[in-house]
Amino acid sequence: MTLLQIEDLKVHFPVRTGRFGGGKGTVRAVDGVSLSIDARETLALVGESGCGKSTLGNAVLGLAPVTAGTIQFDGQDLGTLSTAARKRLWRDMQVVFQDPVSALNPRRSIASSIAEPLIIHGWSGSIPDRVTELMELVGLNADQRTRRPQALSGGQRQRVVIARALALNPRLIICDEPVSALDVSIQSQILNLLMRLQAELDLSYLFISHDLSVVRHIADRVAVMYLGTVVEDGPASAVFSDPVHPYTQALMSAIPLPDPSRRDRGDRVLLQGDLPSPLDPPSGCPFRTRCPLAEPRCAETRPALTPQGPGHRAACLVQDRNPGGPPA
């Protein structure tokens, strides 16, 4: 069953340009993205900074303005709902951000932070009991309830943030780089917690991350973003073992492997140059300015996502395995 359905979503921001701010421009942070997440599924959104992955998550949460397109949650179009109906729906959708330090109020006890959504949304049962239950669920000791965030380690703080996100029994959690700010020896604890909670509570995750080793482990499906568009998506196993788009291939081969005997592997694709400005994206394929396989025709038409295998799509004219076939 589809829980979240995003159709042709665009999030554009007007900006002033030039040294003195005299010009006007539009940042096309998300520029025509269609994605869906099933119940109990983890969809990972990967890409480099500035590709629009966090903006996409924010748009789903109502934290970034939708310029065009629709976002449907459980069959309801978020754009047409009344404010009261949206507020009810937000119980079903929660978020865990990267930095647990700035996500928690330093002057509140952790119990009070976890209780806040329960108070706002009028929890019907006993709030202290629910806080205790949540703390135990995420592996925190209930004796720590009166402590302030600064008395906890980074991993424990992220557990508090997760407990707060779980307070209202959500169905979808948007995890925006949830382990990037944590020490390496702590990351696997939090990833294991997220995987256990998903199984126990039937959660869906939109998992936004730049860490591909983590994504390979935790995701059911992966969508690769570049300059505001999805260039490839599909089952995690297919995208990782058999990437079609040259950008995905470069991204995969850039992952540093913890194995010194493979450092000189010859299959590495080193990209030249930097991400173009989203203010002035290249014509045609957004990746063509850095693509080792680009041809003249790539400047002319923007490639659409086309089927490459079961559930696997990519937007590349050169690497398309099914040229001339119907668009996905």
Binding site: E48, S49, D183, R196, R216, A236, F240, Q272
Partner: protein
């Protein structure tokens, strides 16, 4: 003979011990990775080499030698920016925002009097080209804010390498960058230092970066070196339980997806909470009564500070 020699180095903030007895050497042309988590003391160790410890921090014990002689403040003034160069994690905040990047690259040549202003400027443009900045003549006149993060990091590398230093200290040089840019920058550091015979002390928390770059590795935990050795030995057969577990927590391509990952229990203790004896013992499954004593770094070449190593030393 080693180029850089740290012996029994200790750093304190007041009475609080932050680095406790680090011994480490770097040979000419070699890349040595200093790896550890936050609070392990890896960055302080590196900063102490160039005398850039912040206020309130001081070296309380041990020696720092470069090219066979002690690193006195007077000697460092001559060496810094010439024989010893440094690059940091945040390229944007490490560059002067009001100075054209070309002039920043040229600066060390002018300050050390090795070139005239115009020679230095053309050397800077040449160096910017070598680090892969397109259109270097124009870019040299721009301010850091007009360049991307990846380009600013190239500028910093150009500024560090223009004087052909003998030692480059790189503190998390790619942590703020994206993976495809990280791969470019790492290969640039590797190629340029190899070409110039520069030794590199690479500070990182990322075992993937270590495996890509290092000849030798020095693992720190709780202000001490817990294991050091050649990169292939250390990855193939780690001896200290911390190194072993750190490598096992990393998701690997051949792991079954969605299965629980190996996790080290507990959290990284701060310097106020370090246990006596072995500082990893509060999280170590092999710890016993013996570990309340401080384990010495033992072994020949590949060394570990553990009474119950994974493999005999």
């Amino acid at each position: 003979m080693s180029l850089l020699d740290l012996s029994d180095l200790a750093i304190q903030a007041g009475e609080l011990s932050l680095v406790d007895g680090v011994t480490l050497d770097v040979h000419p042309g070699e890349i040595v990775a200093l790896v550890g988590e936050s609070g392990s003391g890896k960055s302080l160790t590196a900063l102490s080499i160039v005398d850039l410890l912040g206020e309130g921090l001081r070296v309380t014990r041990g020696s720092r030698r470069f090219d066979g002689a002690d690193l006195t403040p007077k000697r460092l003034r001559k060496l810094r920016g010439q024989d010893i160069a440094m690059i940091f994690q945040e390229p944007v905040s490490s560059l002067n925002p009001l100075m054209p990047v070309g002039a920043q690259v040229a600066e060390s040549l002018i300050v050390h009097g090795t070139a005239s202003e115009s020679e230095a400027q053309s050397a800077a443009i040449d160096m910017l080209r070598r680090v892969g900045i397109p259109d270097p003549d124009r870019r040299a006149t721009q301010l850091p804010a007009e360049l991307s993060g990846g380009m600013c990091q190239r500028v910093m590398i150009a500024a560090a390498l223009i004087s052909r230093p003998r030692l480059l200290i790189a503190d998390e040089p790619t942590t703020a960058l994206d993976v495809t840019i990280q791969a470019q920058i790492l290969s640039l550091i590797r190629d340029l230092t190899r070409e110039q015979g520069t030794a590199v002390l690479l500070i990182t928390h990322d075992m993937g970066v270590v495996a890509e770059m290092a000849d030798r590795v020095c693992v720190m935990y709780g202000g001490r070196v817990v294991e050091q050795g050649a990169v292939h030995d250390l990855f193939a057969a780690p001896r200290h339980p911390y190194t072993d577990m750190l490598l096992r927590t990393m998701p690997r391509p051949d792991d079954p997806p969605k299965e629980p990952l190996f996790a080290i229990k507990g959290s990284v203790p701060g310097p106020r909470d370090w246990p006596s004896g072995c500082r990893f013992r509060s999280r170590c499954p092999r710890a016993d009564a013996a570990c309340t004593e401080r384990p010495p770094l033992q072994g020949d070449g590949h060394r570990a500070a553990c009474f119950h190593p994974m493999r005999p030393t």
